[in-house]
């Protein structure tokens, strides 16, 4: 590939003809064209549903039922957005979702890095066995425990509060622990030893030396947990029962059950629900990508 690219840079495109079909430049151009064609088709496949959402969200109800479907709304009905977002108390839903998400991120970052530090830097009996258990919780779908967890939270009186969705995150998550431990292991042990010689205790070493160095991994844990909490549906659906405690996802599903043909309003509400994670993604995409590179697992939590 490197050879053909140097060749092509010296070959004006006009000279490429059928005669020179054996010329590496010809093959190169065809390959390039194919690659970009496929890349653009893929991007269109991604964008069309989003464009269709946006288009519908600005139509009148009559226009959503137009035959055949049209892409450009006429007239553009901005009113759908306020209408959709006030048809149900979406302001409450967003507030609840923000509270859950932010506290979950804080809990997950703090607890998982503590646990990962324990696994990465200290030797103790049973360490490998316990770490195997951490990994196995990644492999085993613990969402099957929704029934006993529901009963536990009912017993604690936490049902229809945000607590079941927040508190468990303060006890570490398998994926975050795994990711942080991987990262800590790339930090030279000499730093810890130097800190120890300077009289730092393990807590100080963790807090003042390792944690500041682990910012890329912390960022990755934070963005993955953000998405996890923001996207969660089954948990809020089961634990929350009154409208004022709903999250955006549960509210959106309930909204859809209210009417059946208000597609212009659903699409407006869906578009708003998509904007927040998209903004976070664009601001923090390097943490996503680095998190993927760190673990080779792309945030698929068990």
């Amino acid at each position: 590939m490197a050879d053909s690219s140097t060749t092509i840079s010296q070959t004006p495109a006009a000279q490429v003809s059928y005669v020179s079909a054996r010329h590496p430049g010809f093959k190169y151009i065809i390959t390039r064209a194919l690659i970009y064609l496929i890349l653009i088709s893929g991007a269109l496949f991604i964008f069309i549903p989003l464009a269709w959402t946006l288009s519908t969200s600005l139509k009148t109800e009559a226009q959503t039922l137009a035959y055949p479907p049209t892409w450009i709304p006429n007239p553009i009905q901005w009113r759908n957005y306020p209408d959709a977002l006030t048809a149900r108390p979406f302001d409450r839903y967003y507030m609840n979702t923000f509270i859950i998400t932010i506290l979950s991120v804080i809990g997950q970052v703090l607890s998982s890095s503590l646990v990962a530090y324990g696994f990465a830097r200290f030797r103790f009996p049973g360490r490998n066995l316990l770490f195997m258990v951490v990994l196995s919780t990644l492999m085993i779908p613990f969402h099957l425990l929704i029934i006993p967890r529901f009963i536990l939270f009912r017993y604690l009186g936490w049902l229809d509060t945000l607590l079941p969705l927040i508190v468990p995150n303060f006890f570490g998550g398998a994926f975050s622990i795994f990711l942080m431990r991987q990262y800590f292991q790339t930090i030279p042990l000499e730093l810890d030893e130097a800190a120890k010689i300077d009289g730092a205790n393990p807590w100080q070493t963790f807090w003042q030396i390792l944690l500041p160095l682990a910012k890329p991994a912390l960022g990755a844990v934070a963005v993955f947990e953000f998405m996890e909490a923001w996207q969660d549906f089954l948990g809020p659906l089961i634990y929350l029962s009154s409208d004022r405690n709903y999250t955006v996802s549960v509210g959106l599903a309930a909204f859809r059950n209210d009417y059946f043909t208000a597609w212009h309003l659903y699409m407006a509400a869906a578009a708003v629900a998509m904007v927040v994670p998209l903004i976070v993604f664009f601001l923090a995409q390097r943490y996503f990508i680095s998190g993927v590179a760190l673990t080779g697992s792309g945030g698929s939590k068990g």
Partner: protein, 313 residues
């Protein structure tokens, strides 16, 4: 850990070992406590509940193995298993091929690599409920954009995607590819970029063409990632819930009755906690057995670079 041969060393070392262990346990204690409360305890409770009958009112009454025998003759349970397995058998390999293909493309020298990655990753971050709504609207038989397109190009009515028992699972698979292909692509891409160029250079000297290089270098070195995708895809299939709840409610005629949705129905709509617990426990066992089988099987085809470098197979 430098060797210092002082007589007091062993005593000193013992105490630091103990201290080290103490700190270790202290730091991992949040996870140990959380695991006990939110996973181990519930698992034991699930086992107990699976032998009882309970509608959340009063206390559970012991019924022995009745839930399990009922499960074995429950047609809906078998239907849900079938739906889940068929979906997984289609979705997982398809997802691997699409993501790997996209990664191979983006591993070429392509302009705006960062931009393409961002575009393809984007759907992964969107809330599943919103995505489900969007795809319901795309698949809408009469007013959706897909059938509008079919009408314009082919001049005839398109199928009723989500209302057709034959088409509902393929429709959901396409949507799943739309969501997850980007994430998996990035994983493959980071794997591809970790493959040393030396291997390709050496094989070029030996006369291998790019096709041969793909089969003998690229693919074997990606097998750990393919394996990872296989496992996570399998688990995601068993977890699939939101799409079933929002888009199809298990229909039409139970053609999309995913197992987690069936579990939800039994537990939280019909309040048959004991029966649903038995269902969850059977699933636990099935998934664990499957995972072990896939791990065993993986030894036959997953190569780890350390083995390759070490020269042994």
């Amino acid at each position: 850990m430098t060797a210092t041969a002082a007589p007091r060393r062993s005593q000193f070392k013992l105490s630091t070992f103990r201290q080290e262990a103490l700190y270790g346990y202290l730091f991992i204690s949040p996870w140990v406590i959380g695991f006990t409360i939110f996973a181990l305890g519930p698992l034991l409770a699930l086992i107990y509940l699976s032998f009882t009958r309970w509608d959340l009112v009063g206390s559970p009454s012991w019924v022995g193995l009745r839930n399990y025998s009922r499960l074995m003759s429950d047609e809906l349970f078998w239907q849900a298993m079938k739906v889940t397995v068929v979906y997984g058998l289609g979705r997982v390999p398809l997802g691997i091929i699409v993501a790997l293909g996209a990664a191979l493309l983006l591993n070429q020298k392509v302009k705006f690599v960062g931009l393409w990655r961002v575009i393809y990753y984007m759907p992964v971050v969107l809330p599943p409920v919103a995505v489900s709504l969007v795809w319901m609207w795309i698949y809408n038989p009469r007013y959706g954009v897909l059938n509008g397109f079919i009408r314009q190009v082919l001049g005839q009515e398109g199928p009723r995607w989500l209302d057709d028992p034959m088409l509902v699972l393929p429709s959901l698979m396409v949507m799943a590819i739309w969501v997850a292909a980007g994430r998996n692509m990035i994983i493959y891409l980071s794997g591809l970029q970790g493959i040393s160029q030396d291997l390709y250079d050496a094989s070029s000297i030996d006369g291998a063409d790019s096709w041969r290089q793909f089969w003998q270098i690229t693919l074997p070195l990606l097998t750990p990632i393919i394996f990872f995708n296989l496992i996570t895809g399998m688990i995601d299939t068993f977890k699939l819930f939101t799409q079933a709840y929002v888009m199809t409610q298990g229909g039409p005629r139970n053609a999309s009755l995913f197992i987690t949705y069936y579990l939800y129905q039994k537990a939280f709509q019909q309040f048959q906690m004991g029966y649903a617990s038995a269902l969850a426990l059977v699933l636990f066992v099935v998934i664990m057995v499957l995972t072990v089988v896939v791990f065993r099987w993986s030894r036959a085809w997953v190569y780890y670079e350390s083995e390759v470098v070490g020269g042994g197979n």
